[in-house]
C-alpha cells in the first residue's frame, strides 16, 4: 500500500513542553486512521504537523503530492472559522454550495453545529485530495450531518484518499476507521486496533473503548 502521508520520528516541542514525542505514523492510500486520546494528548499537534501548519522540532514529515490533485485538506473545528465573515461569503469564497442554514449572518453568530457544517463543507467539497485531516469532525453535528460526513469520507476513501481523524467519540471512529491509534502524553501507545482483530459494529466499538481505557491506565 502506498502512503499518502508519513511522520518519521517526529517530535514537536513548545519551549519546555513537548506536544508530540518521537511519533512515527503512516497513512496509506484509501486508509482511514483514527486518533484517540485524552485532552492535551497531542492529537491536534499531530494533525497540524501533517498539515504543514507546524514545523517539527525533530524528525520528518512527508505528504504525497502529484500536482494535479490537492495534497491536503485540513479542518480543526468550527472555532477556527473567522467569526466576522458572513457565512454565505465564506462559502462562496470556496465555491461551496452551502446548506440552507448558510445566511448573511456572520460565522461567529451561527450555532456551533452550523459553523461546524459550514467549515466541513468548505473543507470537503470538491475533488478528493490525497490526504484528509480532520480534528474532532463530529463535534456539534446532528445525526443527519454526521451521516453526511461519514458518507463523504467513505467516498473519498474509495477514491484513494488517506484520511486521519481525531475524535473523543470512539463510536464514530469505530464505524469508519480501518485502524485506531492511541495518543497519550504526546506518544503513540503501543496498542492499536485494526479491523481484522476488532470485528464490526458494537463489539468493535466496545473493544476500542477497552483498549483506550487500558492505555490510560498503563500510562
Amino acid at each position: 500500500m502506498t502512503t499518502r502521508g508519513t511522520l518519521t520520528a517526529v517530535t514537536k516541542s513548545y519551549g519546555r513542553h513537548v506536544g508530540v514525542r518521537d511519533v512515527t505514523l503512516a497513512v496509506g492510500t484509501g486508509e482511514v486512521v483514527g486518533l484517540v486520546g485524552p485532552n492535551g494528548a497531542g492529537k491536534s499537534t499531530l494533525l497540524r504537523l501533517f498539515a504543514g501548519l507546524l514545523r517539527p522540532t525533530a524528525g520528518r514529515v512527508n505528504v504525497a503530492g502529484n500536482g494535479s490533485q490537492p495534497a491536503v485538506r485540513y479542518f480543526a473545528g468550527e472555532h477556527t472559522l473567522p467569526p466576522g465573515v458572513p457565512a454565505r461569503r465564506w462559502l462562496r469564497l470556496w465555491s461551496a454550495p452551502g446548506t440552507p442554514a448558510a445566511t448573511n449572518r456572520r460565522l461567529g453568530t451561527l450555532s456551533r453545529g452550523t459553523r461546524q457544517r459550514v467549515g466541513l463543507e468548505t473543507t470537503l467539497i470538491g475533488p478528493a485530495p490525497l490526504l484528509v485531516l480532520l480534528d474532532e469532525p463530529w463535534e456539534g453535528l446532528d445525526p443527519d450531518a454526521s451521516r453526511w460526513l461519514s458518507d463523504y469520507l467513505m467516498e473519498w476513501r474509495a477514491a484513494g484518499a488517506g484520511i486521519l481523524l481525531s475524535s473523543h467519540r470512539i463510536h464514530d471512529l469505530a464505524d469508519i476507521c480501518d485502524r485506531c491509534l492511541f495518543l497519550v502524553n504526546g506518544q503513540l501507545a503501543p496498542e492499536s486496533i485494526d479491523a481484522s482483530t476488532v470485528g464490526l459494529g458494537a463489539p468493535r466499538a466496545a473493544s476500542l473503548f477497552a483498549a483506550f481505557d487500558r492505555t490510560k491506565i498503563t500510562r
Partner: protein, 233 residues
C-alpha cells in the same frame, strides 16, 4: 472546491468593516476641509490622515494564526511567502486609498503640489505603514500604530525633533551626514514631508532600502511563526 488565492482569502478576513469605512470617509472629509484652510490646516489634516493610515495598516497576524483563522489558506502550502506578501499588500490598501485620495483631492482643491503624492510623501507612507504592519504581526491589531504614535510623542516630548530635523537637513555633506539624515528620516519619518515633500536622492534610496528590509522582516515573521492552536474559551 476551488482554492482561493491568498489575496482573495485574506481580503475576506482583513477587509475593513462598514464602521471602519465610515470612519475613514469622515476622516478624509474633515482632513480635506482642514487642508483648504491653509498651511496650518494642512499640517493638521496630514496628521489625521497619518494616524488613520497607520492604525489601518496594523492588521495583526499572530492572534488570528493561533485561533486558526488562516488554517484554510496555510494548510498543505509549501511556501508561505505569497500569503505574507498578500497580507502586507492588503494591510496597506485602505491607508493607501486614503493617502492617495487625500493627495489628489488636496491637489485639485488647493492647486498646490500635494504632499502625499510627492516622493517624500510616498516614501513616508510606505515606510511608516510597513513598520506598523510588521510590528503588529507579533503584537496584535492596532499595536503597531499605537507604538508608532507613542514613539513620535516620546521623541517630541524629549525635545529631539529639532535635532532630527537638523540631522535630516545636512544630508548633502558627505556620506556620514547622509547616513545621519537617513537615520533621522527613519526615526522621525514626518521630516520627509517637510520642505514640500522633497527628499534628496541618497536619503530616499536609504529609506526605500530600509522599507524593503522591514517588508522582508514582516514576510519572515509570517513564514516562520509557528505555535500551537489556542483552545477556544
Amino acid at each position: 472546491m476551488k482554492q482561493p488565492s491568498p489575496l482573495r482569502f485574506l481580503w475576506e478576513i482583513l477587509r475593513p468593516g462598514r464602521t471602519a469605512v465610515a470612519v475613514l470617509l469622515i476622516v478624509l472629509g474633515y482632513a480635506t476641509y482642514l487642508a483648504t484652510l491653509g498651511d496650518y490646516g494642512f499640517d493638521e489634516a496630514m496628521t489625521m490622515i497619518l494616524v488613520a493610515q497607520i492604525l489601518t495598516a496594523s492588521t495583526g497576524y499572530r492572534e488570528r494564526l493561533l485561533r486558526g483563522h488562516f488554517d484554510a489558506i496555510l494548510a498543505g502550502r509549501r511556501r508561505r511567502e505569497p500569503v505574507a506578501l498578500a497580507h502586507a499588500a492588503l494591510s496597506l490598501v485602505p491607508g493607501l486609498v486614503l493617502w492617495l485620495t487625500f493627495g489628489v483631492v488636496d491637489h485639485f482643491l488647493t492647486s498646490r503640489r500635494s504632499m502625499p503624492i510627492t516622493s517624500g510623501g510616498l516614501a513616508m507612507f510606505a515606510y511608516a505603514s510597513l513598520v506598523v504592519w510588521a510590528v503588529s504581526l507579533w503584537l496584535g491589531k492596532n499595536s503597531g500604530g499605537v507604538l508608532w504614535l507613542t514613539s513620535l510623542i516620546v521623541v517630541a516630548a524629549a525635545g529631539r525633533v529639532q535635532l532630527l530635523r537638523e540631522a535630516y537637513g545636512t544630508s548633502g555633506a558627505g556620506w556620514l551626514a547622509t547616513a545621519r539624515a537617513v537615520g533621522a528620516a527613519l526615526a522621525f519619518p514626518l521630516v520627509m514631508v517637510e520642505n514640500g515633500g522633497y527628499v534628496e536622492t541618497p536619503v530616499l534610496v536609504g529609506v526605500w532600502i530600509a522599507t524593503a528590509f522591514v517588508l522582508a522582516a514582516g514576510v519572515w515573521t509570517i513564514v516562520s511563526l509557528d505555535a500551537a492552536l489556542k483552545e477556544p474559551a
